[in-house]
């Protein structure tokens, strides 16, 4: 591990208590603790985060854009999973 080839970490920030974590970017650091400190300095200089996650980039498995179609198909052709699919008598407020 030379001084410039530190492992890559993905940084996730939570903007406020109760909100989901969002990918902010990546950085290089020697270990998790170092990555956390760097993430604070790089991605949270203005109170952008109340919590941080750092994850080794190699630990992330991503879906492949080339099979995005077939991979997500099962979710796309099921209109009955949406409320608009269902008819309601005229004039009735359901929500």
């Amino acid at each position: 591990m030379s001084d410039s080839h530190w492992p890559l970490w993905e940084v996730f920030t939570q903007g406020a208590q109760g909100e989901p974590f969002e990918h902010a970017g990546s950085l290089h650091a020697t270990d998790a603790e170092h990555a956390l400190q760097n993430a604070r300095d790089v991605y949270a200089r203005r109170g952008e985060a109340v919590n941080l996650w750092v994850v080794p980039s190699t630990a992330i498995t991503a879906s492949a854009p080339s099979d995005a179609g077939p991979f997500f198909d099962p979710g796309n052709d099921k209109a009955y999973r949406h409320p608009q699919f269902y008819k309601v008598p005229r004039g009735v407020k359901v929500f």
Binding site: S2, D3, G25, T30, P65
Partner: protein, 323 residues
Amino acid sequence: MEPTPNAPADETALNAAFEAKIAAGDSIEPKDWMPERYRKQLTRMMSQHAHSEIVGMLPEGNWITRAPSLRRKMSLIAKVQDEAGHGLYIYCGTETLGVDRFDLYNQLLDGSAKYSSIFNYPTLSWADMGVIGWLVDGAAIVNQTVLAKTSYGPYARAMVRICKEENFHKRQGYEICATLAAGTPAQREMLQDAVNRFWWPALMMFGPSDKDSPNSAELLRWRVKRKTNDELRQRFVNLTVPQAQAIGITLPDPDLRYNEATKNWDFGEIDWAEFFEVIKGNGPCNKERLAARNKAHDDGRWVREAATAYAEKQAKKRQTEAA
């Protein structure tokens, strides 16, 4: 060259899918197929942009110890730290194209990388800190606001993050200018001198005129660029003239006048010979900047080595504890 079987047909289909995405205004993401030339152009643009953020720390870092008050000093430190952050956001974006940050650093350190010509001008007075924030960050904002809609996703997202921070840079600069403009005759004179020196280099930041910008058409078609260099330059001039008038500062261009027909501020001819000289490495501070960057890198070596040694020691400790 031996033709690879199937490659041309595959490539045509992939290219069609890529072009369709661009046409639909979708963002291109790191794992998407992209033409080699698109990857190359983005790597070039993004690495130059990242280098500019890093080198951009030097002219201002130069004045931190001489800031006239604690308030100004705090602002300047925070701004310079932001620029380091901007460099990191964009280096991280560039790595998603498959280049190694280590190689990019080395290109900057050995002088083979390009960066914005503006940072090769000297910062001679405190007023330069105001004028850099106002004009240089102001020009950067015009450029980056449009880049936030660029077709390459990681670049666009880095720009969104950066744009949020740039407004502070511009306002702290303009506040310095407005303060000096309302000050003593000597302060006004110092400010006017700084504006005189930085105005034209700031206009050059948008790059060569459209007729001398061979890459522009392709970059616009790929939606990497969303506006031409000249369009952005004009937008910057239109924004800046009223700001200069508001503090009673003269922009050093006798041809500057409002055009009722186009609703633009027309401006004089830019000295492109000077621009290309600075790009070639013959600007007033090219050598100094490179030397300062190398010194900073060398001076930081022990910190990087210490961090590496500490991490290795911790890893060993965890191993023995686990055993």
